[in-house]
Amino acid sequence: MLDGPHPALPPDLAARAVRRGGRRLRQRRAVQRTAGWLLAVVLAVFLVWVGVEQPWATEPAQVTPPLEGW
């Protein structure tokens, strides 16, 4: 009952789908490229900052604590 002759496919349907799907594909690629580039820049900036600042090194004490109670 559900079977029957298939309706006529619009002749340009595939081409339109390719155009729209292609647009989506290019957008997706652009987003991925931008995200990757951004990640690389953040990483580079972080490495430079770490190299210059060296946050693991403690500063040498400049002030001696007062000597009391001896």
Binding site: M1, P7, A8, L13, A14, R16, A17, G21, L25
Partner: protein, 174 residues
Amino acid sequence: MAERATHRDRLRALEFEAFVAGAGGRLLHTATLLTGEPSHPPGAYPRAERLLYEALARTYADWDRLHGGDPYDRARRELALRFAREARRHQRPRGGLLDRLTPVERLVLVLRMYEEVGEEQTAALLGLPADRVRAVTARAVATLRAGGRRPGAAPTAPHGTAGPRPAPDSRATP
């Protein structure tokens, strides 16, 4: 690099167009069954065409991620999920074969009977329990057998223009 990308794009478009030429008619038939539109005079099923167009565009965008999977399955899945998302817009009868059923009944019936998707797979695809799929299928078949009058209180508007209420409001149930 860019040259290779365009070559791959062209190859993908060729593969995709061959796929649509082969399977498009059947998919469009499925879409008309879902939207409840008649399938014979060309141009009588704009909703089905739009549904299929969107599903095919998405299938094309995901073509490289198929990894040997069946593009027909992918397109059908896209079609079914898209229809499920906008099911509320397909409640009104449009003169098709299944327009007496509710959108969900149509979706389940078409997947189970016309596309012959297994019960478990249908349930997984739609996110429903399997016994619910079985119950909805049985109800849809019973409705079709009964010749159109839907038994029980269905939550949607009554179909047809011969109903006692000329302008039914499907949402208001005091």
